[in-house]
Symmetry: C2
């Protein structure tokens, strides 16, 4: 019997826990789900004999180590900044760990130690990062095996709302941690374009988007996602001229979101003292330069943004109630927390709403003197607000990885991301059986001399 420990029982854990519980008899597993909030964990394992809920606090050192020692495979869904407390304990005690979070430089530094201990730390094993890595590498390796030379990789993913549930002017709802959406992109994005490194600071990130389309689904805006350059080594594409990973949003989103960035409303670094005594009107006014106080707030904002009052961005902002004289309910919140609080009910998935994952890979290569473009697209829709495409596409790869590891089918050791055939082949294959199916196109686009 193998004992699996899942740490974190939040929204994104549902599909993973179900995947594991449904296969527990057949695989002879017991599944322990731990969360700070015991009732959350209990809810997730309800009705499954092989599931057990416990209260888990990552800071209770002794109890944590005992717990990890009692299990064979650990899956950590804790917030990224808490991961090291779990991964270090896994190394110390000698357990495999799987997580959907980004692998940090500190994580990587432990790779040799993990390998020496015959252990695997598999990071970035969710959707993005996760399925994006696996599907990109499967295509890249196939092209390379056919003798092709990869010249550009563009890989974009978006957690969006399905057209049939899309009823707001932002064409967006939350399917992921709202505060993480508000804070997304802070820092400097990095990618490679035509042989040159490009850096995009946060203040320009949402104005430098490009537009791509997916057949049947229309146009999407794409902005650069964090540091793409660190993946050149990992993907073994050291001499590739163009390489970018990006985030997809619906058309018009980036310009409108950029209004928040320009105003300064995504700063999470200081409290707006007495914010609950202000209206959203007051808040916007406080962030505006106020050069023409005789103008209305909307006029001032439109002027500040350099757009007409009738611009789509202004409609999006007005729809949020930003220009209404409504009291801010948050007390002493940061601008980002106040914004999150405003957006949360307005971008909330209704019980019957379907979310949608979109992924687009554009892989350019040369083969026999000809330039090719390989295009792979994926659209996955959720069932409802509980069983979201986001939860599925994060949870299923984690679950499949647990199964493969538990069955002894994975030989990789050390701190890794899922870019090796022994991982991506079986995972992508099983994902297809769940309806996670890419559409592939491969065409000659011109002649290279």
């Amino acid at each position: 019997m193998k004992k699996i420990l899942v740490l974190g029982a939040g929204k994104s854990a549902t599909s993973l826990i179900h995947y594991l519980l449904e296969r527990a008899d057949q695989e002879d597993w017991t599944i322990t789900v731990g969360d700070r909030d015991l009732s959350l964990a209990e809810h997730k394992v309800e009705g499954f004999e092989r599931g057990k809920a416990i209260r888990f606090d990552v800071d209770e050192e002794e109890r944590k180590e005992k717990l990890i020692a009692e299990h064979d495979i650990i899956v950590s869904l804790l917030p990224a900044f808490l991961h090291p407390k779990v991964s270090k304990a896994c190394l110390k005690i000698g357990r495999h760990i799987i997580t959907p979070s980004y692998v940090s430089a500190d994580d990587l530094a432990m790779s040799e130690d993990f390998a020496k201990a015959d252990l695997l730390f598999m990071g970035e094993m969710g959707l993005d990062p996760g399925i994006d890595h696996m599907s990109t590498l499967q295509i890249i390796h196939d092209i390379e095996n056919r003798g092709g030379n990869i010249t550009a990789v563009r890989s974009f993913t978006g957690g969006l709302i399905a057209p049939e549930s899309d009823n707001n002017p932002w064409n967006y709802k939350f399917t992921w941690s709202p505060i993480n959406v508000v804070l997304a992109g802070q820092g400097t994005a990095q990618y490679l374009k035509e042989g040159k490194r490009k850096y995009v600071p946060y203040n320009r990130l949402f104005s430098l988007y490009e537009t791509y389309s997916i057949p049947d689904y229309g146009a999407f805006e794409v902005y650069a996602n964090r540091d793409s350059i660190i993946y050149l080594d990992k993907y073994e594409l050291k001499n590739i001229p163009t390489f970018i990973r990006g985030t997809m949003r619906r058309e018009g989103f980036c310009d409108a979101w950029n209004a928040f960035v320009k105003l300064g409303l995504t700063d999470n670094g200081f409290p707006i003292v007495g914010s609950s005594k202000m209206t959203y009107n007051d808040l916007i006014e406080a962030f505006l330069p106020g050069k023409n106080p005789q103008l209305s707030l909307q006029q001032q904002l439109a002027e500040f943004l350099g757009i007409d009052e009738g611009h789509e961005t202004m409609k999006k902002l007005a729809w949020l109630g930003l220009f209404d004289n409504i009291q801010i309910p948050v007390e002493n919140g940061s601008p980002a927390m106040i914004l999150k609080d405003l957006l949360e009910p307005r971008w909330k998935l209704e019980p019957d709403d379907k979310d949608m994952i979109a992924m687009l890979h554009l892989i350019d290569y040369e083969l026999n003197g000809e330039a090719h473009r390989y295009k792979a697209t994926l659209v996955v829709k959720g069932q409802d607000a509980e069983n979201t495409a986001m939860s599925h596409t994060v949870g299923w790869p984690l679950g499949i990885m647990v199964r493969l590891l538990s069955q002894g089918k994975i030989k990789s050791r050390g701190v890794k991301i899922p870019i090796m055939p022994e991982v991506y082949e079986p995972v992508l294959k099983e994902l297809e059986s769940f309806g996670v199916v890419f559409t592939h196109q491969d065409a000659v686009v011109g002649f290279e001399i």
Copy 2:
């Protein structure tokens, strides 16, 4: 005999240490100067019998506590993030502490404990913050004592270069920690304008400057300095409509510095991997959107900044060598570190250079139905690169404070900043004897109904 302990023997400590050593016989003091770098401390006390240099590491807990216990008054010039390690030890052991650093919320939370222990933690006791508080409050209290009602406080300080040593197009040289100059202003600035709070995010800070002049010294640009609003309570000006603290630079500086902010060159959060293999040209290009690659780098940058190629900003950037094909000497540096490294030799004080402190207070008030504007200006010049106006105006107030405290003349206890008459009166008076003399103007500017 009183024993004084000075922690930190860097550039800004010179004037303080000299102030103390020169008065050591008369006041019956011994002065211990501690620094991680023993030779630095030794250099500072050289030739003074009552001065003693020691190696000091803030992380050697036991030794630190023993050292603090052996002294009566502690002056901490350590970097701000190390202060808590000293102030907490002072509270535990029962010693007064004086520092030029900003008082944080964590510091303030210890105020009651310091007061209960009959101890004083005097923060913000340098130039800015320091002399600015003292001189502003002296004027404010005087106006209030005359029955006036303060309606606006604008207080600006700049650490600059004296006109006679000003020989670069930026009209600026480093008289303060270069990396702190590069990183200055990150976060959101806050102030009060005509009864409304204003927030300025970093991405707009250097474009929202205003211009003021000081007689005989010409025009200065002023941008908002951190959070002014926290001082409303401290200054006891809760109902004032306009209150802003700002930083002064020479005309043209803000636009040019804003080019770095817009590009993203002041980010200290990530390394430019392989930076030593790049030229400054490459660096600028990597940060430019690159929409018109057929243009020259200067043309692209001018277009990006929305200015002509002949604009003063372009001349300033060209003077730094940014457009030259010079290899970057920094390996894997953050953009901010690379920028600091570029600026440091170019903005270096030459041995005979004189720096200059400029301070400007504009205090509006109503008295007997009339609107008044009180204007106080201060210009202090240094002697040379060693004896700078910056070092003097940071060190002297600290030294005077040590003397007053040592003589039992200060009754204030708890965590404070220098806003009380028992501090500002004697400190400002003694500063005058060193040539730190404000020019005062007080005029009726109109009629208030």
